[in-house]
Each structure stands twice: as structure tokens, then as C-alpha cells.
Symmetry: C3
Subunit: 389 residues, 3 copies
């Protein structure tokens, strides 16, 4: 082709070489159509599904969130041992503040004036006895309420049970009151303040939207239809949205999920990025397999009486724990995922040729002609026994 | 081509066939250069951007973290109703321990010796009255502090308000003291212990780095320039780094984010994997739209006086909640993402040919020659009306 | 080729064109084998590794979880200053409820009957003095326990220290008791209720599996071999599984991670999706670099004595915080990731040709023949000086 054969010249020449595959063009109704259709399908998939639906051209980031809550409401109870009693935030929110969660007392079993002393164990809990021999001194059983003193004493006129060293009197093993003592809690409201951040895009927003002003915030209550932007939620509404009955749930307590989802397409105006609230019951209350239902825990208030002896009020508190779960993904155009998808897409377009070729060269009537045109052969089979070059 | 046509022989033969596309090499300054440039671009993108910048060759894992905190410091307050009073950790950290967060009391409105009884409602909160008729017995309003008894009593010499059954005396609806009562808190320090884990790579590390010894830890305070590795933080420094004024923030409270980022390239020595601390105010304090600012909550201490009647001290606590947010990503070489990116890259290289071909076969002067060389045709259009084969 | 040259007709014709590359088939033992082997490798990688091992055909989702815990057990302590004392849940779980975590007191340093008054500072903590001149009035030092009154008083017969206004008597700066006071805690048990959700697949499950019934749940204790599905864990077992000794850990406290992993392949029956429990100590106890070991915090119980003066019991509580970490990934077949991987795979198959071509056209003996067949040339170098067309 050329005289000059100096190495660098060759390189130089090579540099300006452009290799492009030699193409066989088959002009045929069948094949053509087939070809175009498959192409169309692949392209439709890439454009329509990957790009438009899955937003394959976007880089995504997950949300960073901070939540604060403020409960409001008052409940009134009237019991024999406590008399008329008012409950306010400081009484029924335990602990007074948590990070992404708050607990509201709805029902309780209270045991007043417990002191460190000894008293007979509960009956029918495996600690009934007839003589001291039945009680093992120092025994502490997980089912029991204290450490046995080894003596067998009168629980009632009929029953004798082992004596235990414990906080006496013992808490009675009873079902929680029904209707729940703090049934009023259904009208309590909670203000949920949530500010989020998408660090990758340096995008901040809070769930109190710009158009929400002080006066509105003082009287609004969230309502999916009328007040969808109000961050104040009535307990009963939340529980109802989760298809639960508040009064029933309040008896044994439970765990509610307040889900705030921030799905944002940051290629759109940021005002379109708004929180969506959904409510779900998190603890299982499956009737057929209802093991250990509800949610409760024990806590105590400690006092010292006149002669400096410690007493406590033990409360087995049933209530609803609201877990505020903030999640979401923001997407914004980015070149890397775009090209990754385009690349994979092109590779798929390669499939089209494979498919069509196969059909053309096997099914078509004039396949031999196509074959001859498409393929040329170099044989190198002098090595193979059953061949002649 | 060959005599033998036994099926298996054909297969056998087919097995040893190697198909490679037939190439047309165009030796041309223009095309060649164009071709090389586009290639260079694509390769530069793949190597430079995807691999080097985005570390496309790495498999990534997100961090698992555990945080414990320990606050130190003492504050002194002097008020009329409490007199001289010292505050230590057990007083101002509420609750005493949390998982990834801690709250420090900086300001408070205190109401001493509340008991369950009745007293007149606050004035100017919608409960002013002239006669009992204005008060609805049993009414519990979210704005109110108790349950109305139905009587209208003297709030002061001039004003009469509805009487409520509540914790009396009621908390006065006043602004928090300014300057804040526990302004001394700015000098409190907190030791943050954070140990992290990247499960996929079985990599553990803690923010107390190996070279940090006991003696240093006892006297050091974090300083971005002089002590960047000291895990003890002065409150004022943290707030200042977030461009806030501690004394102002302390009045109404707020939420601070202590962000610990662990971005680790585990292909590098693990000693390069160190935490980065940043501080940010999480609650919104936007002056133009400042709805419900700050952070506060109510809690109470319960007492029993001589005649066994329960009294409580209600505290409306304003303070700063520090949320410790640990995040980060570790990457280590892995073959799957590498090949995924290489694959996508090669597919993009395919684009080059497409682009060049288009230019060559449309813009170039000698395009017809190229066309003839590149394409060969098989016609199958006897079906089409306007054709003759 | 054709008479008719109307634009639309051309288009129409173009539409039915099918372009397929012209292929050179080389029939050769060496090349063929080489070719097949490389192909086999790539395909094996795609199928075997990406698809089977990494489940590249699945779309994945991360877990949403909700955890509640209930601790059971009783401990007995006998100290000089408190006498015989029983500890139950309400006493040793602080705070009474948390979101994904619970703390159990295992050891404590208790300071009874503190009041707001003044007393001498600890000795040997830098506050020893000989005269009032050594004490600065109003000085509050982070190492100190109060605010100095400026007077130098007798700490003991020998030592004088600065007087401070503080909660007096001051807590003694002593090591925690060893053996731990609540060593009994090793037999405590905790019921962990965990319900999870994979939102993308709308899949819910809880760690109390369907076959677990009430009676079993009342007496079972988790055991990796005999009771792997029992959600009740004995503290000692958990700590032992983390290769720690409970009694040693209990002295200074620590942080335990209860890891519940929900790795689910939702293409399989959902009953295969079960939690896996693992236990790990989260706080560092590296012997060579053991700075600030263990986990403890201070909290107080507040009382009012007869003459309405506030006193408190300060407790420096050492204990084990159990962080329940729920993580996991669910996968279910999805077309997008599948095609993405297939696409990338095909692109890699393209590599095969590149590699083989290179070998064929450089190493093979008959390379010239292949070259001639594979390449055809069009020269356009009349521009280049050292060329003649």
C-alpha cells in the first residue's frame, strides 16, 4: 500500500486509521419489520421504563431527619384508691422526651405505697405451699416477685403461699381496666416538627411548609382532605387511619408508626417536595396467633415518708408508643447513572442483531443467499481428521 | 466447503468456528482524528470520572454505629423561689441516658408545690367569665390546663375566670427567662464515644484513635485546628461552629446535629479512615417564618408531703438536644461493580463507531466510496410495488 | 439500485432495511478453542457469579423495623448503707422505655441524702489548700463538684480542701464494687418483639414466628441449638455469645449489640424468611488502648423531707445497654436490574472478540491470511506528505 515503512510512520498512519464493520444490508419486508419492532421494543423499554418510570438518569440520596414532638391534652380519672385525678403531659408522657418516638400512657395498673419488706407471694403462680418445707430460702424465680424467705404464710384465709422479700404489697396480677382509664387520650394532639436534609444535594426542608403561619398552626388539626399540611395530629385520627379502634387499642397499648415520606424529584421545583403522612400499627395484633399483645412497661415514683423510709408507687403503664419513621429518596440528574443506563441499553440493542440474525439465517426462505453474503470462511482444518483444506 | 455432513461433526466443527466481524479500515486524516478524539473522550470519562472520582471499581457498605455520651459541668442559679441552687449532670440531663442523643437543660420555667386541687384558669386564654353560666362543667379544652368545675371564680381583683380541677397552682404562661438560667452550660463538655462497623468488610473502628492516651483525654477539648482528634466537645464551640450564639439559642432551646462522617477508602491503610466532625442546627429558626421555635418539654418531680398527699414540681424545660448522627460509606475493590462499569464503558465505546459512521457517510466528500465499501446489499423487494429486483 | 427516488419512498425502503455485520468465520482448532474458552469464562461469570451468588436479577429493599422489649428478673443486694434491698424492673431499667434499646443497671455507687449546701471538695483532685487564698470564690471547674465558696476547710484531720456549694455530701470518687452489686442480672431475661416491613414489596413479618404459641413463649429461653426461634434471651447467654464474661462486664458496664438480621429472598416461600440473632460487644475494651472503658451515667431520685427541703439520692449507675440493631435486605426478581446485568454482560462478551482478534492477528502463523480476509482498506492519504495514493 505504501513504500515508507518506518515504525513511527506506521504508528502515525495507524493513528489515522478508522475501523468500521462491514455491513450487509438485507432489504426485506419480513426481516426489516422484525428488526424495527425488536429495536422499538428495546428502545421503548430503555426510554419509557428505565428513564421515565425508574428515573434511571438520576443520582439518588437518602434522607437525614430530625424530629421533635409536643403532645397536648388533659385526662381525668376517678378511681377508688386515687380519687379524682387529673393527668397532664408531665404525667402521661414517659420519658418526657425521646429522639424519634413518644409514649403516651392510656391505661394503668397502679400499686400504691410499696415498701421493701416481706409479704406472701401471689397465689396460683406456683408458689402455693402447705409448710415452710415447700419454700426454698433465697430462691429468686423469674415468675416470682421477690426472693423467698423460706417461710410459708397465709395469703388468705384458705390459701398459704411462700413469703418473699420484695416491694410489698405486691402488684395484683390483673387484666388492665376496660374501658381504659385514660380513654380521654383519643382527643390529645401532637405537634410533630420534622426537618430533613439531603446531604448529597445540600437540600433542606421542614414539614412546617412556608405557607403555614402561626395563627393557622394554633388551631389546625391534620385532615387528609381539608388540612393535609397541618403537622398537628389527633391521636384518634391517627389510630383510625391505621384501621384500628382507639379505645380497644388503648386497653393493652400498642405501637403506632407515623410514617413521613419525603419522595422528592429535585429536577422539579422544590415546592413540589412535600411530606406524605401515613399511619400504621407496628405491633402485631394477629387474632389467630396473638402472643404477648400490646405494649406496656413498669415504672415507679419514689418517695420518702416521715421516718425517712423509702416507699414507691409502682405503675404498670399500658400505652401507645408512636414511632416517627422518616424515610424517602431524592433524585437529581447526574451523568454517571445516565450513561450507565444508556450503556446497558446500547448493549441490549446488540441483542436485536443476534435475535434477527438467528431468525434470518434459520427461518427465512432465502437464508442460503443471506448466509453466503454474510459469512466468508477461512479454513484451517488440515489438522482435523475428517477435513481436507 | 466440506464433504462430511454428519450432525455431530457439524457441531464439532461449529465449535471450532470463530466469528469475527469483517472490518473496513478507512485511512483518513479527518475521520481518523475524529475517531480517536471521540474514543479518547469516552475512555477519559470511564477511567477519570467513573473509576477515579466515583470509585466505580469499589463495592460499598454503609456504617453501623454505636454512640455513648458523657456530659460534664456544673451550673449555678439564683432565683427568688429556689434560692441559690447548683445543677449537676443528674439534674440537667433528661432522661439520664438515650441511645444516639442527649438533652441538656439550659433554661426553665418552674412551678413549685403543685397539688391535685382546683384553681382559676389563666386569664386571657378564652376562659374569662362573668358568671358560672360561662363555664361548662367537665369541659376539657386542649388550650386549658384542667377540667372545668363549672364555677366562675376570682382570678384577680378585676378578672374572673372559670375554675378548673388541675395541678394547682397553674404554671404561669410566661416567656422563658432571658438571659437563660443555665447559661453556664456553654462551658459544659461532652465526651462522645463512637464505635463503628462496616459489616460487609468486617471492619471496626472507634473515634478514640489509637494515638489518643488517657492523660490526653483527661484534659483535651476538641479544636478543629489544634485538637482535631479529641472526642471531647465544648458546647459553646459546637454551637458556634453551627454559626449560632449559644446564649441566644439557650433561651428557647433547639436541636443540634453532631454529624460524625466516616468516609473510608479501605483500599488505603485503615489509619486513613478517621471521623470528621461537623455541627449543624437541625431545628428551623428561619426568622421570616418562625413558627413554634426552639425546643422544650414539661416534666415533673413527684413528692409526698407529711400527710401523704402527692405534690409535684412542674418544670417546663428549655434546652438543647444534641442528636449524634453517624453516617458514612466505605469502599473496597470488588470485581462485580468494576466489570459492570467496564461493560457499560465498552458499550459506550460502541457509540463512537455509530457517531463516526454517521459523519463519514453523510458529511465526507468521498462518502459514496466509503458507502460502497462498507455496505453490500441483498434485495428482497419483488414484493414491493415500486421496485424491480 | 432503484429508479424511484422519492424521499418518502426512500424512507419507506430504509425502514425495511436490516443491517447486519459481515462476518469472517475462521475455522481453526486454536482460535476456536480460545474463543469458546473466553466466552465460557465470561458467561460463567455472568450466570454463576452475578446472577446466582449476587442475585443480580433481584430488586432489593432495606428493612423497616419496630422493636419493643420487656425485661424480667429480680436482684437482691445487701449493703451497709441501704441494708437488704430488692431490685425489680422498675428499679433497674432506666429510662423505663426506649425505642430500640434498653439499659439494665448492674452495678452502682450510691450517695444518699444529698442536699444543696456546702462541704469540702474531694482531696487530691487539685483542690487541696492551706488557706482561703488558695480557693477562688465562684470558681466552677469541670473537674470539681461544685462552685467554690472561697473558703478553705478541713476535709479530714490532715487535709484541707476548698469548700464548694454543691449537692453535699459529695459522691466519693471510688471504683465500682467488684463483684458487681447486681450480679444476679446475669439470669435476667428479655423478651424482644420485633416486627419488620419491606415497604417496596409490601412484606411484613415478626420475630415471633407462626409456630410459636403462648405456652411455649412462657417458658422458653433462646438457645442457638435447641430453641433458635425463642425471642426470649438470657443476659448471660447473650454476653457469653459475644465472648465476654458477664460478671466482669457488669462491673464497669458496657454496650451490647443485639443484631437481628432479616436476609430474605422473597422469590422463595416467605416461611424461609426468618431472623438471625447475633450478639456483639459494641464498646471498645481493647486492653492495650483502654481509654474510658465501660458505660455508666449518673441519675438521681428526688425527695422532700419533713421541713419541705429537697434531698436527693445520687446514683452513679454502671450497666449494660443493649442496642437492638435490626438490618437486612430483601430481594425479589425485577426486570430492570436483570437487564442491566445482562446488558453489561453482553458488553463484556464484546471483549472476547477484541481479545481473540488481537491474538489471531498477531500471534497466529497464518495471520496475514486472516488479515487480508478480515480487513479491506480505503486510502485517503494523498494529503499526507510521505504518501502516494
Amino acid at each position: 500500500m505504501m513504500k515508507h515503512t518506518g515504525c513511527c510512520a506506521t504508528l502515525w498512519q495507524y493513528f489515522f486509521e478508522y475501523s468500521t464493520p462491514r455491513i450487509l444490508v438485507i432489504r426485506s419486508l419480513k426481516v426489516g419489520t422484525l428488526n424495527r419492532i425488536t429495536q422499538a421494543l428495546v428502545i421503548a423499554y430503555i426510554i419509557g421504563y428505565v428513564c421515565v418510570l425508574k428515573k434511571g438518569y438520576q443520582d439518588t440520596d437518602t434522607v437525614l431527619s430530625s424530629v421533635t414532638t409536643k403532645v397536648k391534652g388533659i385526662a381525668l380519672t376517678n378511681t377508688t384508691d386515687m380519687g379524682l385525678r387529673i393527668w397532664d403531659v408531665a404525667d402521661y408522657v414517659i420519658p418526657p422526651q425521646e429522639e424519634n418516638s413518644f409514649f403516651v400512657l392510656t391505661n394503668l395498673v397502679i400499686t400504691l405505697n410499696q415498701t421493701q419488706s416481706h409479704c406472701p407471694e401471689q397465689k396460683n403462680t406456683g408458689f402455693d405451699c402447705t409448710s415452710d418445707r415447700d419454700c426454698k430460702i433465697g430462691l429468686r424465680d423469674t415468675r416470682g416477685n421477690g426472693v423467698q424467705t423460706g417461710r410459708c404464710v397465709n395469703y388468705s384465709a384458705e390459701v398459704k403461699t411462700c413469703e418473699v422479700w420484695a416491694w410489698c404489697p405486691l402488684e395484683l396480677d390483673v387484666d388492665p381496666p376496660d374501658p381504659p382509664m385514660l380513654g380521654d387520650a383519643e382527643n390529645f394532639t401532637v405537634l410533630i416538627k420534622n426537618s430533613i436534609r439531603y446531604p448529597k444535594f445540600n437540600f433542606n426542608k421542614r414539614n412546617i411548609l412556608p405557607h403555614v403561619n402561626k395563627s393557622y398552626l394554633e388551631q389546625c388539626v391534620f385532615n387528609r382532605t381539608t388540612d393535609p399540611d397541618c403537622p398537628i395530629f389527633r391521636f384518634k385520627d391517627m389510630v383510625t387511619e391505621a384501621n384500628e379502634d382507639f379505645q380497644i387499642m388503648a386497653v393493652h397499648g400498642g405501637v403506632m408508626g407515623v410514617q413521613i415520606s419525603w419522595e422528592c424529584d429535585l429536577d422539579m421545583p422544590s415546592s413540589w417536595c412535600v411530606p406524605k403522612y401515613t399511619f400504621r400499627r407496628l405491633d402485631n395484633k394477629d387474632p389467630v396467633n396473638n402472643v404477648a399483645p400490646g405494649y406496656n412497661f413498669r415504672f415507679a415514683k419514689y418517695y420518702k415518708n416521715g421516718d425517712n423510709q423509702e416507699t414507691r408507687t409502682l405503675i404498670k403503664g399500658y400505652g401507645i408508643r408512636f414511632d416517627v419513621m422518616v424515610f424517602g429518596q431524592a433524585g437529581r440528574f447526574n451523568i454517571v447513572p445516565t450513561l450507565l443506563n444508556v450503556g446497558a441499553g446500547l448493549a441490549l440493542l446488540g441483542l436485536v442483531t443476534v435475535v434477527c440474525d438467528w431468525i434470518v439465517l434459520t427461518c427465512m426462505t432465502r437464508k442460503t443467499i443471506y448466509k453466503e453474503q454474510k459469512y466468508s470462511y477461512v479454513d484451517d482444518f488440515h489438522l482435523l481428521p475428517d477435513e481436507e483444506p
